[in-house]
């Protein structure tokens, strides 16, 4: 395989040969994504372990009356809003693959449009998350309130931080595209960003089901 790889590189001269015959940047991003699996698994398992063990409300799916004050707290999760934000994140993944495809084709106009679309959709998702967090705090759920609040804000907050990093990465690529134009030889840079973005998307797929939908 290594010989074949060397021959391929001699022909194209695009990338220095590697012992695996694979692009080192892609190996690195896949290794990083593998490590991120453990990171999110620890957060998800913490959430699941503490699930249903909060002594005081508000609770995610059922109303709760504070025995001290008699105040009634409604179920905290807003499924319609989160469903829309989930749809937005899924569509951002579609925009991302189209951006990568445009860069590979050398279609500069489309690459700018789809990179900007992906960044905007990612920012929209973050806007939904900011709205959700703010409304939860107004309804009486903070990171200190109960076990649900602590594990929920940590899990979704870290996911939001990853989305934020992804949006910054996308805006950097868009800036480069507008400055000098992304050429087909730059496709690997967009591909690596796309892999990270899709991973953030699949993590949300798991969170949406485990945290929001399963009662």
């Amino acid at each position: 395989m290594a010989t074949a790889a060397l021959e391929t590189h001699d022909t194209h001269g695009a990338h220095p040969p590697t012992s695996t015959g694979l692009n080192s940047t892609k190996v690195a991003i896949w290794t990083f994504i593998g490590s991120e699996c453990f990171f999110f698994a620890s957060l998800i398992s913490t959430y699941l372990i503490y699930r249903g063990r909060s002594v005081v409300g508000p609770f995610p799916h059922e109303a709760w009356t504070d025995p001290a004050t008699g105040h009634v707290f409604k179920a905290i999760l807003n499924i319609p809003v989160t469903s829309v934000s989930t749809f937005v994140l899924l569509m951002s993944s579609l925009a991302m693959v189209l951006a990568h495809s445009a860069v590979v084709r050398g279609d500069r106009k489309s690459s700018k449009i789809w990179l900007a679309s992906t960044a905007i959709l990612g920012a929209t998702f973050l806007g939904f998350q900011a709205y959700e967090f703010t409304s939860f705090v107004h309804e009486g759920l903070t990171i200190h309130t109960n076990l649900f609040g602590s594990s929920f804000f940590i899990l979704t907050g870290f996911h939001g931080a990853h989305v934020t990093a992804g949006v910054i990465w996308l805006l950097t690529l868009l800036f480069i595209d507008m400055k000098r134009g992304l050429e087909p030889r730059d496709a690997i840079n967009v591909d690596v960003c796309a892999l990270y973005w899709h991973f953030v998307d699949v993590v949300w797929i798991a969170i949406f089901t485990l945290v929001y939908l399963i009662k």
Partner: protein, 118 residues
């Protein structure tokens, strides 16, 4: 769902991918179908959530988990093009993912959320 091989060869060269096994990417038609399927599955998940009669059954949680797993697999296989990519990448992702899944299940057993009744 076909892969666009002319496009993929361009991607291969442009990305400096040396191995013959690391090359193909799906085409626009495939991406469109994937987006449609993901949207429908998400809609189905939310629809199930609002069915009180179904929520009460033992099938509710397994159904949601299966739908979520299908969505997860579709994104990984097609958008992250792992279906068409090198075996090493599958190992780099699949290995940690499997271990992470076992860790979650193991912890749930340890903390009494899952139980085996003999």
């Amino acid at each position: 769902m076909a892969a666009d091989h002319s496009h993929s060869m361009l991607a291969h060269d442009a990305e400096g991918n040396a191995s013959p096994e690391e090359h193909t990417h799906p085409d626009w038609k495939t991406y469109r179908w994937v987006a449609l399927i993901l949207t429908l599955l998400t809609g189905l998940e939310v629809y199930i959530y609002y069915l009180p009669s179904f929520v009460k059954t033992k099938m509710f949680v397994p159904t949601l988990l299966v739908l979520s797993a299908i969505k997860f697999a579709i994104v990984v296989l097609f958008y992250m093009h792992l279906k068409y990519d090198a075996k090493l990448f599958r190992a780099l992702f699949g290995g940690p993912l499997t271990l992470a899944a076992f860790t979650i299940v193991g912890l749930l057993f340890l903390f009494g959320h899952l139980a085996i009744h003999f």
